[in-house]
Structure formats: C-alpha cells, structure tokens
C-alpha cells in the first residue's frame, strides 16, 4: 500500500504528539487505570463530604456506642457513638490535604535545591549534596516525632514538617536530570543564544525533567498519607475531635476486642489509598518511559 501525502494515515501520524502516546500507553495499563480510579474516587468523596456523609462526624450519641454495622450506621459507631462512615468520609479530606500540601512543599524545595546543585555543579554541587546526605542520615520518622513534640500538633505543622523532611529524594532526582540535560545540545544552543541561567533552567531543563519528578511526587503522596496516619495513630498528629484515618484507628485499637470494625475500615482506607497512589505513580512512570515503544 502506498501512502500518499495528505492521506488519512499520514495525517493521523502527524498528530501523534507526545501526550497522546502517553495517554495511549496509560489507558492500556490496567493497574494504572485502577490506580487513577481510586485516586479520582477519593477526590470526589472528599470534595462532596458535606453531602455524602450521613451524619455530622462529631455528633455524639451516647445511647449508641460501639455499635456494629447496621442499616442506619453502615460502618457502625465508635466509643462516643459517632458514625464511623461519616468520620471516614471527613477523614479523607485530611489525608488528601496532608498528601498534597506536604508533597507540594517537598517537591518545591527538592526542585530548587536539585536544580541549583545540578546546574552549577562543581563545589556548589559537592556542598549541597553532602547536606542532602546529612539530611538523609536522620531517621525521618523520628525527626518528625521530635519536631512535632516541640510544636503544636496541628495539621499545618504536620504538613510542613513532613514536607521539609521529605525533599531529599526529589532533590537527588532533579540534580541527576540536570547533570545530564545541561550538556545536551539544545541547552548549549540556548547558551550560545545568550539565554540567562534562569531561562535555561526553567524553560529548557526543568520541563524535560518533569516526568521523574511527577512520578516521585505521586509516590510521595502515598508516603505522606502513611506518615500522617502513623502520627495520628500515635496521638501526635491530627487532634480529636477532627477525624483522621489515623486517629480513628487509634480509637479502634483500644476497643479491638469488642469492636473490630473500628480498626478495620480506616486500615482498609489507608491501604487502598496508598495502593491507589502507588499504582498511579508506577503507571505514569511506565507510560513516560521512552524506552518502551507504543
């Protein structure tokens, strides 16, 4: 078959942009699609929490404490008679917020740090990367515990602390990308045209290193959600009565022998959410991998 100029085959080839190739690969990856369905569902649930939740999450009903799942309380009630389903739905907001804000902070710090380090190289790079090594030496979780112990355990403090203890991975990733991209000919060409360092960093190098950053950030959301749950579980995270999956779990732990549902549902929610973000992150990574052909 000959392909004439202007024929449909040629036209459809022309419009095969990078984003289309990405999309095409992504939708064929079942795990990635299920990951994005989970993440999307969580978004919808947390956005519509006031409509979706059947009860006020802090409504105490002492006549109905530690009830098993019934028709009026599908996931039962806790030790104060509050509806577990409503608390779970409102708790998803906390998880989502912590995940995104903490990872947002970590990503911004990581990009700036890694970009400067990788772009300028030399002794600047040496000093900055040794600082990263030092930061990585601290066991992150205990560092967070120690810092939170000094500060008020508010949700904002938790997000900031998770953010500023979690940027090192992204900084290393960005640095590595910059080290290889700064020698590429299109970057050299921009320098030959007299472009400023800032223009080269933000217009040329950064857009070409977004793929691994995006993957790392998605996986980071899962990590941040886990950390927040763990902190809340230990009682230094989100403080009651604000519902968070972590502190619902704590309440469940105290009554696990008589009310198993109190620990099962928040545990499942954390599991599914983290799984969803991990699947999504890995799906994005696989779809962006230039070595895999369509």
């Amino acid at each position: 078959m000959t392909i004439l100029p202007g024929s449909n085959i040629l036209k459809s080839m022309e419009r095969f942009s990078l984003s289309r190739i990405f999309f095409h690969r992504f939708v064929r990856n079942r795990l990635a699609v299920s990951g994005s369905v989970i993440v999307l569902a969580l978004f919808v649930i947390s956005m519509t929490a006031p409509i979706l939740a059947p009860y006020d999450p802090s409504d105490i009903d002492v006549k109905q404490i530690l009830m098993g799942p019934t028709r009026s309380h599908p996931l039962g009630t806790d030790q104060l008679g509050r509806d577990v389903l409503s608390r779970m739905i409102w708790g998803s907001r906390i998880s989502l917020r912590v995940g995104f804000v903490a990872v947002g902070i970590a990503t911004v710090i990581g990009i700036l740090f890694g970009a400067v380090s990788g772009y300028y190289g030399g002794w600047i790079d040496g000093i900055m990367m040794r600082f990263v090594d030092v930061m990585l030496c601290f066991p992150a979780f205990f560092l967070i515990l120690a810092v939170i112990a000094f500060l008020d355990p508010s949700i904002w403090n938790i997000m900031v602390v998770i953010g500023i203890t979690g940027w090192m991975g992204i900084a290393r990733l960005v640095r590595a990308e910059f080290l290889s991209l700064r020698e590429r000919e299109f970057v050299v060409s921009a320098r030959a045209l007299g472009a400023s360092d800032a223009r080269i960093i933000f217009r040329h190098i950064l857009p070409n290193s977004m793929a691994p950053i995006l993957v790392s950030a998605t996986l980071g959301v899962a990590g941040a959600i886990l950390t927040e749950s763990a902190l809340s579980f230990l009682g230094i995270g989100v403080q009651p009565p604000t519902p968070s999956w972590g502190n619902i779990l704590t309440a469940g732990k105290d009554n696990i022998e008589i009310a198993w549902w109190l620990s099962l549902y928040p545990g499942l929610a954390i599991l599914i959410t983290v799984l969803g973000y991990n699947l999504l992150g890995e799906g994005i990574r696989d779809s962006l991998d230039p070595r895999l052909k369509i």
Binding site: E14, F16, E185, V188, S189, L193, G194, R203, H204, P207
Partner: protein, 321 residues
C-alpha cells in the same frame, strides 16, 4: 592582524582535568586544544578536519566561549572576546552562532518549532508577538520549511528537517559568524547534499563566515576555502583547499586524503595506511605527537616537537619541511 580577518585565534589552550576517585586528586589532564592559532577571513569558510576526539568540537566551542578556554586569545573583529564581561558577551552572541551535529539532541522536545527558532528574538528582546511570528515564518521559508511547521513539535519532523530548524535558529539574529559542528554527519547522504547546498546558499545571500567542522573530506573540499587539519589538539597543517587536496604536505594529511573513497573499482591508488591508534590524549607522545604512526618519522621527531611554520604560502607542522 589583517583587517579582512573576521576571526583570529592565538595560542588557544584548553585542557580537561581527569578525575580520580572522589577522594583523590585529579590524576591528569587531557589537552583537548593545545596551542592553536588560526584565522578566518570575512566571508570565507574554514574547514576543520581530524579524527574523532582530536579536539575539533572543543575548539569550536571555545571560540564561542561555550567552553571557557584556559589561555589564549580569540579576536572577533579585532576585539579579544575572552576578556568581555557577561553582558558584553551576550551582545556578541548575536553575531556568533553554532549549528550542531545531532538534530535529535539540538532541539528542545518540549518547545514548538516556532518557540525554538524564535528563542534568540526573545532573549535579545528583538521582536514581540506578531512581529516575532512574522520573523519566524520568514526564517522558516529561508531554510525551506513549510510555514505550518511553526506550531508543531520537533519530534514530528525528520532529521534533515530538524537540521534546517537548527540552522534557522542560528540565523534568527542575523549572525556574521557560524560554527558548524559536523552539521551533516548525522544525516543520510541524500539529505547531506541538501543541507550543504542550503548552507552554501545562505552564506552567499547573507555574507556569512563559517568554521566548518567535519570529518568528511569530500564535503570540506566542496564547501571550504581553507582547510585546517587537526591532530591530538594541535593544528598540523593549514592551507587553501586546492593546495591541500592537490599537494598535501603533512604525512597525516596525506593519510587522511588517501582514505577518501573513489568511485572507480579499477583505480589503483597509492593508499597511505596508518598503523596504530590515536594515542591517549592524556599521555601524548614525546616530540611530534604524530611520530608513532608516521611512515616518515625520523629520530628527531621522537624528541623534538615541530612548530607550525610558513612553507610556500601555507603552514605545516612537520620536520620534513
């Protein structure tokens, strides 16, 4: 220096340190460009030939200060640009541009063709919006690309088309001097001819001066007015193209020229076959850098390095002359 030289290089040197492990000092250095002096007359094309790794590209990039030379002088229109401040150099960059070898690596995959070509216009605040777009369309037609290419991305084009974009980008600021760093080595032979013709036409139309880096001696013969032969970071011979091709003096030049294939199976030519490999530039041989591979090597060559000397209107660095 004479007035008709656009560019004059004197004693340019650049060496790269070779790192040991991260806890030890540098183990040595590679002299990529070793005491190179040459000049290019206005409107002329100087070909720079030599084996891979002999420092051709490094020299080209040192001239544009994309790699900062260790020492020496680069006079552009009589002014040493190595002494310019960042701001002054930015102004000079409008006049000195570069075209790269690999058309797949030289265009930012996340920028449209129009943005890539118009980058210089933005950086130097030459033109905005509508005016800029018109300028880019003009450049596209100048290099023989369709106007609707402007909003597409580089991956939608072939190697030859991308190389045209690289040329258009270099031309956007109306430069006077262009370093063409093996601009056709990565292309098919049929496309090579098109790009060479384009470069030739642009040179005549715009009065450009080229430093044409290549290892394809036939293209150099076709395009260049003068040829400089480089070996291990040094210029071993520099002369007018016709002189070099009709009567190569340096043994290395002779060996290079005899390697050009001839499209005649009957022809019996005297081939000069070099033995051995290019020595490690970290440990260059004593004396003449070429003596371990030279068929005319004398005892003197092993101890005494020859210098580039005038020999009948041309310059050669060899003890034979």
């Amino acid at each position: 220096m004479s007035d008709d030289n656009l560019l004059e290089i004197k004693n340019l040197k650049k060496s790269f340190p070779v790192n040991g492990s991260s806890f030890s000092k540098d183990v040595g250095s590679v002299k990529a460009v070793n005491d190179v002096s040459l000049s290019i007359a206005k409107g002329k094309v100087l070909g720079l030939v030599g084996e891979s790794g002999c420092g051709k590209s490094t020299l080209g990039r040192c001239i544009l200060r994309l790699i900062e030379p260790d020492s020496g002088e680069v006079y552009y229109e009589g002014r040493n640009i190595l002494g310019l401040t960042g701001k002054e150099m930015k102004g000079k960059r409008r006049e000195m541009q570069i075209i790269f070898q690999d058309p797949y690596a030289s265009l930012n995959p996340r920028m449209t063709v129009g943005d890539a070509i118009g980058e210089g216009l933005v950086v130097h605040k030459v033109a905005k919006r509508k005016e800029k777009r018109e300028k880019i369309l003009e450049l596209l037609s100048m290099v023989g690309l369709r106007p609707d290419s402007i909003d597409k991305y580089p991956h939608e084009f072939s190697g030859g088309q991308r190389q045209r974009m690289g040329i258009a980008r270099a031309l956007a600021l109306y430069p006077k001097f262009i370093v063409a760093d093996e601009p056709v080595s990565a292309l098919d032979v049929s496309i090579q001819a098109q790009i060479i013709n384009l470069l030739e036409r642009l040179k005549n139309e715009l009065g450009l001066t080229y430093l044409f880096i290549s290892h394809d001696l036939r293209i150099v013969e076709h395009l260049c007015d003068r040829v400089a032969v480089m070996y291990l970071g040094e210029i071993v011979e520099i002369a007018d193209t016709s002189d070099i091709y009709s009567n190569p003096l340096h043994p290395y030049t002779r060996a290079l020229l005899s390697a050009i294939p001839v499209a005649d199976p009957e022809s019996k030519r005297e081939r000069v076959i070099l033995t051995g490999d290019l020595p490690s530039p970290m440990y260059p041989p004593t004396g003449c850098p070429f003596h371990p591979r030279c068929m005319d090597a004398m005892d003197r060559c092993k101890t005494e390095a020859p210098t580039l000397r005038e020999e009948g209107g041309r310059r050669v660095s060899c003890h034979l002359y």
